[in-house]
Subunit: 219 residues, 2 copies
């Protein structure tokens, strides 16, 4: 099944309700949003109240993998999670306060995360590591049995998801407010990566490996 | 009460459980994290499952204000929300996969959001607008009665919060892995703002106001 053409599911909780936010219904849009970041916000319910924690993720064609960290306890019982990945692309300055907004790309994935073990856990950690830091799985020392046991990796199916994208200029350019003579437009925002900073504990003269230079130059 | 010295509360859900993530317990740390962004992730519980949506926020010494949007329905009954603000500052590349991590600053605020009305709603919207786009409240056309009625603004008390900061180089520089001879360090990440892009619908020659040039130059 080609992940680029699989439509996303539309359930009551992933159906879109607002106007300017444009919903995307193809899997390619989901993959594009997931590819552009490596920190998600994981939402779980703990004792009836919501908890939202940032955590590192990776993904393949079927699952989103994330580090369990503080949320592990809450997910152990097989409870639904919501993982949201958001990229803030711009501040939309309109002629009226009401039409102000944010340009962004966001993906929400709902599902039952499954805690991984054995070979699946190692593979999940590999996918996550290679997504966040391409090349490091082969370069750095891989986890020992003990380290792996101290790590919680979850797999969340990429079956129930929604993607929203808001882009472009403010929408009040052809309304009555256009005659106010006010400036309107967008202040673009973006994430930049800067040159690698060596650990002060490194011996002098150790060159930066090519794959690290490359990942520091990613958009 | 000086917000810079008020300790943050420590409840069971805001107490910190992990080691490398350094908890901060002063209100100045909370204010610093909130000041550095304008998009939060709002977590609510809908029909027993978590929902995490990005939304715009602002804050003053007592409350965090956010746009209700899709979450409004779920909060109407006076339910607890969790608002998380995260800044990703760097990718930490250690000698071992296990010690890899992310440098970040994150704040979590728990509480019962109150939907605002009347003068408090207008003030909440002003604080939110001025936080995200300083100067626009006085420059753009303010909301009409009808527009204000179509906007949902919530106030979340800044009483129960936790702040976590992870920074600096990887921590395996003085362990046995240091002898592997591998490069280790940090790839710094940051958000940049780019020069304002005028709405194509603007009449030619309209200069960019100074406050917009200034907000586009913010770090």
């Amino acid at each position: 099944m080609d992940p680029a053409v699989t439509p996303l599911s539309s359930t009551d909780r992933t159906r879109l309700r607002r106007l300017r936010d444009q919903g995307r219904t193809d899997r390619a849009a989901l993959v594009a949003v997931l590819r552009a970041g490596f920190v998600c916000h994981l939402g779980v319910v703990v004792d009836g109240t919501p908890m939202v924690v940032p955590t590192v993720y990776g993904f393949d064609s079927s699952f989103l993998y994330f580090h369990g960290s503080v949320a592990s306890r809450s997910l152990a019982g097989g409870r639904t999670a919501c993982v949201t990945v958001t990229h803030v692309d711009g501040l939309v300055l309109a002629r009226s306060v009401f039409e102000h907004g944010v340009n962004y790309r966001s993906a929400m994935v709902y599902g039952l995360p499954r805690v991984l073990s054995g070979a699946a856990k190692l593979e999940g950690l590999r996918v996550l590591t290679e997504h966040a830091a391409p090349g490091q799985w082969d370069y750095a020392r891989r986890p020992s049995r003990k380290e792996l046991a101290a790590t919680a990796i979850f797999a969340l199916p990429l079956d129930e998801a929604s993607v929203k994208v808001a882009e472009g200029p403010p929408t009040d350019g052809d309304g009555p407010d256009a005659s106010l003579g006010l400036w309107a437009g967008v202040v673009p925002l973006g994430v930049v990566r800067r040159p690698p900073v060596p650990d002060p504990a490194l011996p002098p003269g150790l060159p930066v490996p090519a794959h690290i230079t490359a990942l520091a130059e990613e958009a």
